[in-house]
């Protein structure tokens, strides 16, 4: 095949949603294979590996993100029904979740306030700009809630989405190591902490550990989303004068 027809084929395909949809799935399968090859080592996180490869591919080919997303949106869409599907493992662990109701609620309040307010305070004390700091505060909760909260408080929704993803990847990689070092070894505590601090990506990691861990993560993700959406909008304005 001569180079001109190769270019022609590329120009045609790169404008089609099919190309980037297929590449997203192919890159994900490659990342999964690497993850398995590394015996499930958390640093070879499938989201991190896939995103890194795709960003390089997009930059090298000069493809704008919007054109990539035209294809990848079909995968993105599945996030909705998959979130709904979290009810199934939650139901399977319902007895245990209910038996631990009190401790779970206390851990929710302690953990949620610690994660959100410390992000805001540390960012502000280190001199990050106001929109950045506000966008940091909801970074532990699931993307759509975080974006909504940040926007209402004067942050940048799309920047928040980036912080949410980075937080999720960081938690997915390091959470079980950190918690084990602290002596926290039971699947309920590890799962709940993962879901609370690192939302869906942490929950995906928790499901790699076990279904029980995943169920606690899913519960924590949902509860922290709800709790943050309700409390952060009136907590942040109270904190702001203390840091000025």
């Amino acid at each position: 095949m001569n180079p001109e027809s190769m270019t022609e084929i590329w120009v045609y395909l790169s404008a089609q949603p099919l190309l980037w949809l297929t590449l997203t799935l192919a890159v994900y399968l490659l990342a999964l294979a690497l993850h398995r090859k590394a015996k499930g080592h958390p640093v070879v996180n499938p989201v991190l590996v896939s995103v890194s490869i795709l960003v390089v591919l997009l930059l090298v080919t000069g493809t704008p993100y919007q054109r990539y997303f035209d294809g990848a949106q079909f995968v993105h869409f599945l996030l909705g029904p998959t979130t709904v599907a979290l009810a199934v493992p939650l139901h399977a662990q319902l007895k245990r979740l209910l038996a631990m109701g009190g401790p779970l609620l206390i851990a929710l309040v302690v953990g949620s306030l610690t994660a959100g307010l410390s992000a805001y305070a540390i960012g502000a004390l280190l001199g990050a700009s106001t929109p950045t700091v506000i966008s940091l505060a909801p970074k532990s909760v699931t993307t759509p809630i975080a974006m909504g909260v940040a926007e209402r408080l004067g942050g940048l929704a799309s920047l928040t989405a980036v912080f949410v993803i980075l937080t999720g990847i960081f938690g997915a990689i390091f959470a079980d190591g950190i918690l084990r070092r602290l002596g926290v070894k039971d699947d309920a505590s590890i799962g709940f902490a993962l879901g609370l601090a690192s939302h869906g990506i942490g929950t995906a990691r928790a499901f790699q550990l076990s279904e029980q861990t995943g169920a606690f993560a899913a519960l924590a993700m949902g509860l922290n989303g709800l709790f943050t959406a309700i409390t952060l909008p009136w907590l942040l304005p109270l904190l702001t004068p203390l840091l000025k």
């Binding site: 997203t24 799935l25 896939s50 493992p89 994660a115 990050a128 909260v149 505590s189 949902g222």
Partner: protein
């Protein structure tokens, strides 16, 4: 499998509808998750096909974050400009959040001893 997928979408749709109607601060899929949980309690568990479909989707939860995650490239300028504070704030607060949650739950459930979780 299609019936189970349709059921998941229907609960998501119901969640979205409730969110808009009641001006709830929580996204539609999370409300849908709550509604499906209520349905599963009433029905005493999922059907075999719903259990399989959910399992398949959840096994690939990582995949669903890739399109949004790739959006990191749109914010490279700000991320570089404020890299220091952002990195410290993200890492420190996530470690603190993890530790606070994990330790609280660990000590509260260990004291009670009702839960032999492992």
């Amino acid at each position: 499998m299609i019936a189970a997928f349709a059921l998941l979408l229907a609960f998501q749709l119901a969640g979205e509808a409730l969110r808009v109607a009641l001006h709830l601060p929580v996204p539609g899929p999370v409300i849908g998750m709550g509604l499906l949980l209520v349905y599963l309690i009433a029905r005493r568990g999922p059907s075999e096909s719903l259990r399989m479909t959910s399992g398949n989707l959840l096994q690939n939860l990582s995949l669903m974050f890739i399109p949004a995650g790739t959006g990191v490239m749109l914010h490279s300028a700000r991320l570089f400009d404020e890299a220091g504070p952002i990195l410290v704030a993200l890492v420190a607060s996530t470690v603190l959040g993890l530790a606070a949650t994990g330790l609280t739950l660990h000590f509260l459930t260990r004291k009670g001893k009702q839960e032999g979780s492992r």
